[in-house]
């Protein structure tokens, strides 16, 4: 390396004004980053099961390697920009040494990255094959993407539900994904990565959770007008609770008390056009089902593509004008009267 003419400590020091200006601009960036690190229910860096944990480990390994390279290369750029900077004091200095390359160096910075990548490739390939091998799955659920909600069917127990996927803890579940319309993508970041639900195809996604709890998800692939409002919830239960849940879901819908508002609500359900798309087992047992199965509607904490918490107010708001909440909604505004809405809310709330 040629000696650097004009090197002295006082030219090296950045001018204070410039330094503080730059430092001041960094501050909002740091605050911004800090504000992100809060309670995030879809944080892929906070895995809650062995599958997501394995991906997380692989990510951090790569991140570590990338961080080292980042520091070396960006450090090199900064050093070059500061150390070899042209200064007024050496205006008369002669031209730098004219080099055209260095074969040894060039071989080095070709071979070293290759070796690093090989080291990363081995665990990558192994993880791909491990996490796509569904032969060890202890349970199957068929997941069907619709614009804009997920439907879940349990082939072993015959249960059909929507928006909220219920699985037992510590169980490797194979989700068999497909779609009724466009391409969707099932993603619950704390339990697994993404997998597309494609019409005409069946894809498989393995998920597993350590502990009971609620896990948030969302459709990952742009699927039209209300893609933003196609979310998912996974409720993880203990094995005993799950069995009880299955038993409850297998029953027909609860019978409303005679003369109660809920009974009126059932009449509205049968007469206002709801049955064209929705099914309530024991009330209208048709085969056509274009919309969420409502048999056990009140057993689910969220509805409308898992965007609304199930409260009487939000159900009433939804029934009053679905397309206003979910643009493009396949449920039209049925122009229900307030009385009809109240009755339907009362009925839906009994469907546990």
């Amino acid at each position: 390396m040629p000696p650097v003419p004009g090197w002295s400590s006082d030219v090296m020091r950045p001018r204070p004004a410039t330094f503080f200006r730059r430092a001041a601009l960094l501050l909002p960036a740091i605050l911004l980053l800090g504000s992100c690190i809060s309670d995030a229910p879809m944080d892929s860096l906070d895995p809650a099961g062995p599958i997501a944990r394995r991906i997380d480990g692989l990510f951090w390994l790569t991140f570590g390697v990338a961080a080292v390279i980042f520091v070396i290369v960006e450090g090199g750029i900064l050093i070059a920009a500061f150390v070899f900077r042209d200064r007024k004091s050496r205006k008369e200095a002669k031209e730098p040494k004219q080099t055209h390359g260095n074969p040894k160096l060039e071989v080095a910075w070709t071979v070293v990255p290759v070796l690093i990548l090989v080291a990363l490739a081995v665990p990558t390939v192994k993880t791909v094959f491990d996490l796509t091998d569904a032969s060890g799955a202890q349970m199957q659920v068929d997941v069907i993407g619709h614009q804009w909600w997920f439907e879940y069917r349990y082939p072993d127990s015959g249960v059909t539900t929507a928006n909220v996927l219920v699985i037992p803890e510590d169980t490797e579940v194979a989700l068999n994904l497909t779609s009724q319309d466009v391409i969707h993508s099932f993603w619950v970041p704390r339990l697994a990565g993404k997998r597309y639900a494609v019409p005409g195809h069946q894809t498989v996604l393995l998920i597993q959770a350590d502990d009971p709890g609620e896990y948030w998800g969302q459709c990952g692939e742009y699927c039209g007008l209300s893609h933003s409002l196609m979310r998912a919830r996974v409720v993880v239960m203990t094995a005993a609770d799950f069995e009880q849940w299955v038993a409850g879901q297998q029953l027909p819908a609860a019978e409303p008390a005679f003369g109660s508002p809920a009974e009126q609500g059932r009449e509205v359900f049968l007469s206002a056009g709801c049955t064209q798309c929705h099914i309530i087992a024991g009330v209208n047992d048709q085969t056509v089902q274009a919309a969420p199965n409502l048999t056990h509607f009140a057993s689910r904490g969220v509805f409308a593509g898992a965007t609304l918490d199930r409260t009487p107010e939000s159900i009433a708001r939804w029934l009053a004008n679905p397309p206003e909440i979910k643009p493009g909604s396949f449920m039209p505004n049925l122009n229900l009267s307030q009385q009809q809405i109240d009755a339907l809310v009362a009925y839906l709330e009994t469907l546990e």
Binding site: L32, T62, G193, L225, S329
Partner: protein
Amino acid sequence: MTTTAINPTIYRRPRPEKGFWSWITTVDHKRIGKLYGYTAFVFFILGGLEALLIRIQLAQPEAAVVTAAEYNALFTMHGTTMVFLVVMPLSAAFFNYLIPLMIGARDVAFPRLNALSYWVFLFGGLFLYSTFVFGTTFAPAGGNLAEPISALGRAPNGGWFGYAPNTESAFSTGTVIDYWALGLQILGLASLIASLNFITTIFNLRAKGMRLLRMPVFVWMSLVVNFLLLFAIPIIAVALWMITFDRQFGTLFFDASLGGDPILWQHLFWLFGHPEVYILVLPAMGIVSEVLPTFSRKPLFGYGAVVFAGAAIGFLGFGVWSHHMFSSAIPPVAQAAFGLATMTIAVPTGIKIFNWLGTMWGGRLRLDTPMLFAIGFVAMFVIGGLSGVTHSIVPADWQQTDTYYIVAHFHYVLFGGAIFGIFAGLYYWFPKIWGRIYSERLGKIHFWLMFIGFNLTFAPMHWLGLQGMVRRTWTYDEDLGLGP
């Protein structure tokens, strides 16, 4: 000129040399280069305004600055604009202006064809934007809207990637997707015409003694890019005809219920789409390879390696398309293979970065505006490259894909990369193009504003994506913990 006066034919050079009409009739490569540049800058502003609306809408959870339909149109038009109407024509502006000068030719090989490609490009851009006036779009068949979609939402809304079957007529009603497909065909035609012209120019019109391996690196990168265009554009053209036929004539290429396959669209689109990434960034790499040596007062370090690495990126770029589809319906063997192929791209990319660093090392760096942009390009491209490697770790990509992590990644490549490189070139050749010196002070203000603003915008998106922010979403739940 005297011969044309005696023998006026349609082959004579257009006469006006000044004023409006001279720009309309020009076949001069420098003027066409400027036309490309000015037009692209207008679209740059439009695309930037679209981005601004997107960011305002997402600045807080559950905001309602724009509607869902408007948002979908905005991000589709933002992506389509920035790719096809900004970065590609800005690169074409540099090809036009510089290639003949750098290889010692009087003009490009086919000056009239060159003018044609510009006017076809302009028409394509206007055609695409005319959807805001003439386009129609509604809810998917069977869906309902509380209110009709406003004018701002009456633009293509299938995403710049236009995944079928969402872009099929049952799901994208109205005409906006037809405008989009046809608009891209027109723009593709302009690119194809230009690519043939530049390839011919570079191969045939070089000054005596300028062997291929004596060409400036920018010309080399232009050559690679124009070959990429020549081979990639026909693929998207085929895909766009297929979706157009599906929509207009009832073919079933992407309709799964009757034997078609939506995954076919993804393969065709990304078989074009990944080379497209290099179409966007290689010209900037060429520019930076010119700027860095000048302002370091040293020749480019490892000329041969930089050239061959560029060509290698071009070749490998055609073999990695499925890394855009790691979550899609492709089997694990394909996932692993495309993951490995993707990793290999990091090698030539690394070679380039190390050679640029080698160029700066031991030089006498003048940190004028072009140099700042060039160094900014290298520094930002390193970040985009490293996050790119994390995508090649297939299982990690299952988490990252379709989140803001990806948005951060490709903006580091295409904004921190391509756009910074283009600005480096713009300041570098400013005196040549406009015959005057730019203001160094304003240039530096421009650089620092853009550098800091860029990083404040896109760096946090890495975290956002990893913490669960899905792309292309109009709104997000307050309880997602990602709002201010």
